[in-house]
Symmetry: C2
Subunit: 676 residues, 2 copies
């Protein structure tokens, strides 16, 4: 690492740089590339990522006009075309590592979705994990060779989070040895599955299994939806696109209804449960824990929250370095808006947040791998804690990311509102993370449920697992930070968050017990405490993120310059969080008013400390211009020329005079011809 040149993002063009932004790069105090490798969790990963991205970014077959200028039809078509191309190329290049496939694909699809995402992420894995040997032998090669394309159809129009409420039925008919799939109501229509509307030929459909008049709950069935001859929906299959959304324009999220559609008995995936030809149902031998995959999906969302926030903050910081606005002194030069404290206050804590989330994502991902290895060797002890943490972190980070993107957008004034900024598309793609794979409030309440269990263990003096030990180790008291240096001490900052989380978990548990003591049934008591439970779960996740950030700085090998700038970020992240949630810290007297006043002052101070490194800190995210897709966030800072060139491509500018003029404006304007 010592041999590294001080280098900016090697992928970017570095000629004709706007002097305002060049100046920023010149004053940075650390080696950007070194920080990039830390963000990537190792230089080998940086190199691999860049290589995969370059394969896509340098491929002329994958170039196209900005998506903002495409109709939804064009975007869908483009996504399908790219999906086929990308799938072929991944094989051709021999990219087998999942992470590397992700880097290549996401660089190829950019702001579009991958047309076979559900096929590879859900359809194929479900066939592999839920099919018995014979079924796998038949279906997996067909899916692998893309002779069929599938998706995973679970969510229904009237049913989301609560999957037991799903209504689609699969009723076994022993006469013909078939299942009859049926959608009894409009609310039972399958709704939302990706690529379902126009693309897939097959789906794994989750349906309530009925045999011999008894319902055995949800089971997976493989159902052919379209003819392999001409792609027409099969008889009895209602199939279509659910219409445009806030984002995901290229995805044909679909609906699916069945009118007594018959499928062979062997189309029920039978690795675990079975239905015999006569309709006899056999339960699975052991109730499989499918926890693991959910944890991975949520950990990946934490990482995605980091990436989306990194995109947004890269755009906003770079733009703020080249945008000049308002004279500070009469007749003086208009300053870079990055010099306004109010602008710094919007952006710098978000830069720090992005770093905090990145390290949180790495830690949980590595922890996930450990836990899976433990599970494979028969130890499932650690899973509940990680499951609870990943659910909460998914919600905590995606909420902050969601708001953060909009703060970044609005910090760019009017130009942030233009699609040229990249923000509208970015937000549309990122915001569903608050809803999918577990709606955020539901997720936080899951975390809270685990926290309440742990709080119960504290009362019962039972042993607490891993991180949760803080619940028995924290002592009530006051924050010992007195001097500025104390308040900048990462250990003391982490302790403040620990105390807050501890207090809020205990307080929520007390509230819950009080409700139960009043004789309320469990579910009512729980519902009456949502406010406190959500606060407790949030405080727990916040504590994890702060502590993990501090630990990461302490435990990771890095140069002093980088350590210094990361320390500033961690201080800012932590102190800003105290300032923004000051009530939580003040309420029980842990922090007092004088301390809070100091915290505010230090936050202002840290903004000025961070100022010289702001651009370098977002450069370190190493997001190539062709991925950023922002005319105002460009690496070279030449935003105005770029905005103008972009605007000229607007489809409304194809002709100087719009066709509607002849039909509408001309008759009106020339109704009584004006002479000028």
């Amino acid at each position: 690492m010592a041999a590294l040149e001080r280098t900016t993002t090697v992928q970017q063009t570095t000629t004709n740089i706007n002097p305002d932004i060049q100046k920023e790069r010149d004053i940075a105090t650390f080696n950007v590339y070194e920080l990039t490798t830390l963000i990537d969790c190792g230089e080998d990963r940086t190199i691999a990522r860049r290589k995969c991205q370059s394969l896509a970014l340098n491929d002329p077959e994958l170039k196209h006009k900005p998506v903002a200028f495409m109709s939804r039809d064009e975007r869908y078509t483009n996504a399908i075309k790219k999906a086929i191309y990308v799938t072929k190329k991944v094989q051709e290049y021999g990219i087998t590592d999942m992470e590397e496939q992700h880097w290549y694909r996401s660089a190829a699809t950019k702001q579009d979705t991958y047309g076979f995402a559900l096929h590879y992420a859900m359809f194929l894995p479900t066939l592999s994990s839920q099919g018995d040997e014979e079924q796998k032998k038949y279906w997996v090669p067909l899916a692998q060779d893309l002779k069929i394309i599938g998706t995973y159809a679970q969510t229904e129009l009237g049913h989301g989070t609560f999957i037991r409420g799903l209504e689609t039925t699969a009723t076994y008919d022993p006469q013909t040895e078939e299942f009859v799939l049926h959608s009894p109501t409009v609310t039972s229509l399958k709704w939302w599955p990706g690529n379902l509307g126009k693309t897939v030929t097959h789906a794994v459909v989750l349906a309530q299994l009925y045999t011999k008049g008894v319902c055995h709950g949800l089971h997976p069935f493989i159902v052919q939806l379209r003819s392999l001859e001409d792609h027409q929906p099969l008889p009895g299959v209602k199939l279509g696109d659910i219409g445009p959304k806030l984002g995901y324009a290229s995805n044909d999220n679909g609906f699916l209804g069945f009118d007594h559609v018959r499928i062979p008995r062997r189309n029920m995936l039978m690795k675990h449960s079975k239905v015999d030809p006569d309709g006899t149902y056999t339960k699975p031998a052991i109730q499989r824990l499918s926890y693991g995959t959910m944890v991975l999906v949520r950990v990946n969302i934490v990482r995605q929250a980091f990436i989306s926030l990194a995109y947004a903050i890269t755009i906003a910081v770079r733009y703020s370095a080249v945008r000049r606005q308002t004279e500070l002194t009469p007749g003086g030069v208009e300053p870079q808006i990055l010099d306004y404290q109010s602008q710094q206050m919007k952006l710098f804590p978000l830069v720090a947040t992005a770093y905090a989330f990145n390290f949180a994502a790495w830690t949980t991902r590595l922890r996930y791998i450990e836990v899976i290895m433990e599970i494979n060797s028969g130890n499932v002890e650690s899973l509940p804690e990680l499951h609870a943490l990943s659910a909460g972190l998914k919600a905590f980070t995606s909420y902050v990311m969601n708001e953060g993107i909009e703060v970044c957008r609005m910090s760019c004034g009017g130009h942030g509102y233009s699609c040229a900024s990249g923000f509208p598309e970015l937000y549309g793609l990122a915001t569903p993370a608050c809803t999918y794979e577990g709606e955020n409030t539901v997720m936080l309440l899951q975390t809270a449920r685990y926290l309440m269990k742990c709080a119960g263990k504290v009362s019962a003096r039972d042993k607490l697992p891993g991180m949760m030990q803080y619940l028995s180790q924290t002592k009530r008291g006051t924050w010992p930070a007195r001097e500025d240096s104390d308040m900048l001490n990462l250990q003391l900052l982490s302790e403040a968050y620990q105390h807050r989380a501890f207090r809020m978990v205990v307080s929520a548990a007390e509230k819950l017990n009080a409700e139960l003591a009043k004789g309320k049934p469990q579910h009512k008591a729980w519902n009456n405490c949502h406010i406190y439970l959500l606060k407790a779960a949030t405080a727990h996740c916040h504590f994890f993120v702060v502590q993990n950030f501090a630990n990461h700085i302490k435990d990771t090998e890095m140069g002093n310059d980088v350590r210094e700038v990361l320390t500033t970020l961690c201080q800012l992240y932590s102190l800003h969080g105290i300032m923004e949630n000051s009530g939580d810290f003040l309420m029980d007297g842990y922090v007092n008013g004088d301390q809070l006043a100091k915290v505010q002052k230090l936050v202002a101070h840290l903004l000025s400390v961070m100022r010289p490194n702001a651009v370098a800190l977002v450069d370190a995210f190493d997001i190539h211009d062709d991925l950023l897709c922002s005319e105002i966030g460009r690496y070279d800072g030449n935003v105005y020329e770029a905005l103008y060139e972009w605007a000229k491509q607007s489809p409304l500018n194809e002709t100087d005079v719009h066709h509607s003029y002849y039909k509408y404006l001309r008759p009106m304007l020339q109704g009584g011809k004006a002479k000028l």
Copy 2:
């Protein structure tokens, strides 16, 4: 009013109502129509509004498919078509009252913008107010008769808030008695003006006036941009659409550049400043205060913030009443999600906020009319206070509305993300309010500047105007609220906000003075205190909204049932605000931890008090389904059928097999033909 029937929104169809939502209406404790008339500030206004809206909503000429299914080209065309039709109809119907025109037009354009909005709101008024008699006589009739269409071109690509930084020049040439308009740089391109790209023939252009080698600052020039024969841009005029945005798809926000374009001397609007034929410049006799219009525009944005929030919360509350999710007890009925405390916590404070903003908007609007009357009789004393308040309120309310829409959207789970919900279009239309007509941070800092002036007057024992007297009247101390009944007392709640605002204004002034005392120049001291200044301005506005809400309930004639429900809303708004900003109240010990715990408990209590009236409270906003444009927020609650019908119209469903299949999917799928 006593004679009013208990009636639901008369405009809505009332057959085939979803029983879940009918039940909600049956349990409401107050007369919805009575509340509607209060929201409208008088029954006469309700009647007039409904009449104007009905004219548009019942007009088959104004019906069209959902905008989500239109291309931008279609939307622009549709907007122009409607603009012409609507303009004609307003004359035909003889709607002359500005407010009534607004109701008619907005009901006609719905989610589109009015194609001649800038013509009527800016171009014509500027001609009238800035032109001399001869100029008015010439231009005003042309504009009134729509023989020309204009816009107002001020903002440039590189220049927004700071208008002195604008670069477009108008240089007088006495030889030809012409001004030469020129755009010297790419940053000097006019950028953003509505309807500029493809629609208008003329614009009032703001440019730096040069004559005899001297720059006299910004002046308005009327410039013809397109031929009245064929609508082609005139020689030297670069003109086009700036491209798609997060919203406003129907608006051709445009760019405009000049390459030494010559216009006659008399095209400078000369009511105030003049340029003689020989180039002699005459300054205006008195520097006109143009404050007034800005205040009105901002007061109107406060009202718009209320309306946008009312739309969002109407959708979310109604949907939450019909959406059922997750069993509370095993095997029990899935409850309405409106019964979850976490859902109530998201939505009910926003219902209360919408009411609070509505009353704030009315008070400031009525105050504006008073102040204008005072000004007309020579008294300009009250203007600065109202100007500062309106700037701050514009920012305060639009920020809250902006976040509130997204909270509402996400509270509707996946369906909120679909364009069928109406949220994406609503957000795209509403969010620019945070940026236009004064960027929110700039606005709050303007308010802060006035607050600092007032704080200075307190020190100097000078008299303070109007509401500002609280700065000299507030005593430091502790919140006297002890019992629940105290905490629900609107007077004591208002006092808490007064104390907070007072403390934050004083604290910001102290910080500012400390910086100045250190010898920092004014602009640096100011910049170093942005954090505190923004907090002070926000606290001031928040205090106004709380106090005004309480006063409104006290001072307005209304039935007891309505007073009771509004009191609950005001309590919830105020207590929730204390809870969300608890640090501000705790920091100086005004509120203590025990009080805050009670506040939290009362907030939870008020949620349950509000629960039975939730749907009725949003019904009272009286937003017709055809305006709401939400399949999930429909008055009848039949959301799933509506979502399905809507989806079927998606353009991707025009054919069962998408055309891209033949080109891309078929060759892949049939590459090695699968037999199934």
